[in-house]
């Protein structure tokens, strides 16, 4: 369980990225922070592993105030996956994956053996282990990034727009993989994105943010779609248009679902 208690972040230049933010992130579920750029979602994520320190307020992990923990040690027990993978270009894939365990004092040989198994976990061929990151495709690099995030077997995995820079087909693949991994490993995932479809697909809990880190609505995807808290949320999730504004059309003895333009998208099962 991760708790934000009245967390505020003001940057030296005066920008208030996050203002009196409160949120409880349930364990072993995926929570997605979603909003347009400048809504403070990345700042919120980076405050969890103290890449950024809050100006005021507290962040608790399982009841422990992160402000009292040593940042370097804290970061080693929290997985982190970022956009553009952030892999070390001078380390081979296997060493990138083994980074955090080795920093934590695991013997090199064992860390590498474990890293090999992780390549299987994230669906990468073991033959890639001795290549350098730049020899891999964007999607493969992102998988290595996920493997690296999981290497120290952290309870918490932070993902900062991890699939923003890969093409739509690979992104869809990686999203399914993330769902599978989260279900299989039972990690607490905190995921940041600006893509509402991605948020609804991955999130057990979705947090829609407005400028300044204000929460517009928190809920399951179904709750948010069914009862948008206000016009901002309704328009952000697109509840009133396109493929989310579905109607039922009776065709013979079946109910066909059509979208805003009358294009059929499926059939209601009895």
């Amino acid at each position: 369980m991760i708790e934000f208690r009245s967390v505020t972040k003001q940057f030296p230049d005066g920008t208030v990225a996050v203002d009196a933010f409160d949120l409880a992130i349930p364990p072993r579920k995926t929570t997605v922070l979603v909003g347009s750029s400048g809504c403070g979602k990345t700042t919120l994520l980076r405050m969890i592993n103290r890449m950024i320190d809050p100006s005021s307020g507290h962040i608790l992990i399982d009841g422990e105030d992160t402000g009292s923990l040593e940042p370097v040690k804290l970061r080693r027990r929290i997985g982190y996956v970022m956009q553009n993978s952030g892999l070390m270009p001078h380390r081979k894939v296997i060493d990138n994956v083994a980074t955090v365990p080795i920093l934590g004092g695991v013997p090199k040989k064992q860390a590498r053996d474990d890293a090999m198994k992780l390549l299987d976990t994230v669906g990468l061929d073991r033959s890639l282990a001795l290549k350098y990151p730049r020899q891999l495709s964007g999607g493969q690099q992102q998988r290595v990034g996920v493997a690296r995030g999981l290497a120290a077997d952290p309870n918490i995995l932070l993902m900062d727009e991890p699939f923003g820079a890969v093409d739509p087909i690979v992104r869809a693949e990686l999203q399914q993989e993330t769902i599978r991994l989260q279900e299989g490993l039972g990690k607490t995932v905190v995921f940041v994105t600006h893509d509402i479809d991605e948020a609804f697909l991955l999130g057990h809990q979705v947090v829609i943010l407005q400028k300044g880190g204000h929460i517009a609505q928190v809920g399951t995807p179904a709750e948010i779609l069914a009862h948008p808290a206000n016009d901002f949320v309704a328009s952000f999730v697109g509840a009133d248009r396109g493929k989310r504004a579905l109607r039922i059309q009776r065709v013979g003895d079946r109910d066909v679902v059509v979208d805003e333009n009358g294009t059929p998208t499926g059939v209601l099962q009895p």
């Binding site: 592993n49 890449m51 070390m88």
Partner: protein, 232 residues
């Protein structure tokens, strides 16, 4: 050619002396430049001042600098230490900019990722920042090497033996072959040092070898740098 044949021993001895004069400044200059470059890169405000002041050091004419060294260091007039220290100053003047640029060239995403992984500041410097600035540092070091090898010849003017002896002696005694031998020997050392540095780079930075098109461009750029360095 006859001059060379009868003086092979002398030329070889001078080449060895010349190399022993050049190697300490190249290494020490490199080691001094890294922390200064780090400061210039880390504290942006200091960057301009550090780079300009140190860059200006390179413009000090070499003969007066060599002559003033004993006064500053308190060393004997003919000590080779005078030349070594002066060459180190020139090496630092050239290298600090490369060190600062090299450290500044490291991808910010990678640094952020390294911190997020749990590298401490110290670990991040040694295991991420320094190795990743390697290609730029190497390019700078090649310039420093060429510059040092050529500047060391001037030591002979103030009586510190180097290959410059062949120029002075050859000119005074009007033996073109001797002057020519001096030039070729200096070039030879410069080329050997450069090849050794490139080889070292291949060994230490195996990850930086790019595909052909990118590599051709980098080589062209560093060649230009070496030429400008040697010319200044």
């Amino acid at each position: 050619m006859r001059w060379l044949e009868s003086n092979l021993g002398l030329v070889w001895d001078l080449m060895l002396t010349h190399m022993s004069l050049c190697i300490p400044p190249i290494i020490i200059g490199f080691l001094i430049s890294i922390p200064i470059g780090w400061i210039a890169n880390r504290y942006r405000l200091t960057r301009g001042v550090i780079l300009v002041v140190l860059g200006l050091l390179y413009t000090i004419p070499s003969i007066p600098l060599f002559i003033f060294m004993p006064l500053i260091l308190g060393t004997p007039q003919l000590s080779s230490l005078n030349v070594v220290v002066a060459l180190t100053i020139y090496a630092v003047a050239l290298m600090v900019r490369s060190a600062s640029d090299g450290l500044g060239s490291v991808d910010k995403d990678v640094l952020q990722a390294a911190s997020a992984m749990g590298y401490s500041g110290w670990q991040r410097f040694w295991r991420v920042e320094l190795p990743l600035s390697g290609p730029v540092l190497l390019a700078g070091l090649r310039v420093v090497s060429a510059s040092t090898v050529s500047l060391a010849t001037i030591g002979s003017v103030i009586g510190v033996t180097s290959l410059g002896y062949l120029f002075i002696n050859g000119l005074q005694r009007r033996i073109p072959a001797e002057v020519l031998t001096g030039i070729v020997s200096v070039l030879l050392i410069a080329v050997v040092f450069d090849l050794l540095l490139v080889l070292l780079g291949r060994l230490v930075l195996p990850w930086s070898r790019r595909d052909r098109s990118v590599r051709a461009k980098t080589v062209a750029r560093s060649r230009t740098a070496v030429l400008t360095g040697a010319g200044s």
